[in-house]
């Protein structure tokens, strides 16, 4: 396929709460990716950074910040911000540059550090700001995830035990992942004993925020051949579509959905992979494994259905059967997912691709999925940002 590019290097900095500057995490990840690719940093012609909004000006110009920290060598730079999909947009920018022939090798990198203390809404009365209004009315971030989870229980008969099984499964997956923050084999009893935050979700159903960094070295297929890596894992598709009006699902920070009275209501999450499947010429039946954005345990089940990996309402059954475990027929979040990592926004979408690359290369160690040929990622963030990336052997 003419639109393929090769992933010749991947690297990560362990997720955690290290309290260091985000640049350090990104540079460590980038150096690992460059080493993994077997190229020289000076061979990189384009640095595509995923921005962080929490670290001041260096975060807004992440591409340049990382290029400078790695040692200015004349490469062109770019910075993307798209909430949770920032890493995928940075990858899309690199792919466009490569496919247009403007460059052969690019570094894609994102890193973040967690703010000190709680992330509180801005001060002052702002009745025109939906974010201010919903907090004033007592509607917090877990409210939205809990509404989605309860909807599953009401529509499909999912239970809190099903959600706990997702946590237990992800904890098992992440246990041996050197880059995961939480490495403990939690049990269903541990989940049930954790505090209820927003019924039906408990503290252990909801992901934390973390420090972390992830990087990719991507290049043209010609370049990969030239350096003896013609059989590298490839990016087959990148979808970063925005929603289509009218959005049928209540989204943070809104108080109400769009109206479906005149225009048919649409699901944004379900639309994300559609473009990726079309672009790759690959269908859900070809998928060996998936890395999905489990901001909550129940949301992982929504994603499995949005990716069309099973019929609507059947995801919990897959979990009960053990199909989503490593060794099952459709392993989900083999890295351990956000449950084991915690969210590091600009690094997260890139880390999903790192995991799939290791899996497709057969380098995932204790987490290795047998016969992994095609993987898909999915994530969604605020303001109509989301992405789905397909990688293949």
């Amino acid at each position: 396929m003419s639109n393929d590019i090769a992933i010749i290097g991947v690297g990560m900095h362990p997720w955690g709460k290290w309290g260091k500057n985000f640049v350090e995490y990104g540079v460590k990840a980038a150096r690992d990716a460059i080493k993994d690719a077997g190229i020289d940093w000076k061979d990189v012609q384009f640095v595509s950074g995923a921005a962080t909004m929490r670290c001041g000006y260096p975060g807004y110009v992440a591409g340049a910040t990382f290029a400078q920290a790695l040692g200015w060598q004349g490469a062109e730079v770019n910075t993307s911000y798209a909430a949770c999909a920032s890493g995928s947009q940075a990858l899309a920018a690199a792919r466009a540059k490569i496919l247009s022939g403007e460059c052969e090798v690019a570094l894609v990198v994102g890193a973040d550090t967690t703010p000190k203390g709680f992330l509180a809404p801005q001060k002052g009365r702002r009745p025109d700001d939906p974010d201010w209004v919903r907090f004033h009315l007592g509607i917090t971030n877990p409210t939205y995830f809990a509404l989605y989870a309860r909807r599953r229980m009401e529509m499909y008969g999912d239970t809190q035990d099903d959600f706990a099984m997702v946590k237990v499964k992800n904890a098992e997956h992440g246990f041996s992942n050197p880059y995961a923050r939480y490495k403990k084999k939690f049990t269903a009893e541990d989940v049930a004993a954790s505090a209820m935050v927003a019924d039906p979700l408990r503290l252990m159903d909801i992901c934390a925020t973390s420090d972390g960094g992830a990087a990719l070295i991507v290049c043209s297929m010609e370049y990969a051949k030239k350096i003896g890596k013609a059989d590298a894992v490839k990016v087959a598709a990148i979808s970063t579509v925005t929603p289509t009006y009218a959005s049928s699902v209540i989204e943070m920070p809104d108080i109400a959905t769009d109206s479906g009275a005149i225009v048919d209501a649409q699901s944004f999450r379900a639309a994300l992979p559609v473009k990726a499947y079309e672009e790759a010429g690959i269908g859900p039946e070809d998928i060996s494994l998936a890395e999905v954005y489990d901001l909550s345990t129940a949301l992982e089940l929504d994603w499995i259905e949005d990716l069309q990996l099973c019929e609507r309402g059947q995801a919990a059954q897959l979990v009960r059967e053990g199909a989503t475990k490593i060794g099952g027929r459709l392993p989900i979040n083999t890295s351990g997912g956000l449950a084991c990592f915690g969210e590091a926004v600009p690094a997260q979408a890139i880390s999903q691709i790192c995991e799939l690359t290791w899996q497709l290369r057969g380098e995932a160690g204790d987490r290795q999925v047998a016969n992994a040929n095609v993987g898909i990622t999915a994530n969604q963030g605020l303001f109509g940002h989301g992405s789905s990336v397909i990688v293949k052997k």
């Binding site: 409210t143 909807r151 039906p200 209540i250 959905t257």
Partner: protein, 145 residues
Amino acid sequence: MTAKKKEPAIEGWFTMDSDKPHLLGSKCCDCGTFYFPKQKNFCKNPSCNGEEFEEVKLSRTGKVWSFTNSCYKPPEPFVAAEPFVPYTIAAVELEAEKMTVLGQVVEGVNVSDLKAGMEMELVLDTLYEDDESEKITWKWKPVSA
């Protein structure tokens, strides 16, 4: 004790009719799509160039889409009573507008009392009180209760 004066917690989002309150939305004069909160400038329907809107009272009953609660005190700008009392939240689908609207559920109704599809009506209730006034918001209440 004299009753404190009642004021809307957010101005212009709902009528202060204590008997049969309505949320105040808007409707595009061109395509007829509904908005809550009110859309004032440009229609968000990608097939519509509408720039004029009329204020409309939204349906005051609907069906439960989903529900949850808040077990922990939210951060400011929420004004919490001391000690904090957990409250229930519902997402309610309005049939005519084909729109889901969030809101707290009246006190005394717990998560275990709700089901998807249950008929709910809009009522006015206190969000919080300060020294001078009682701040009013809309809440959802099961029609049967």
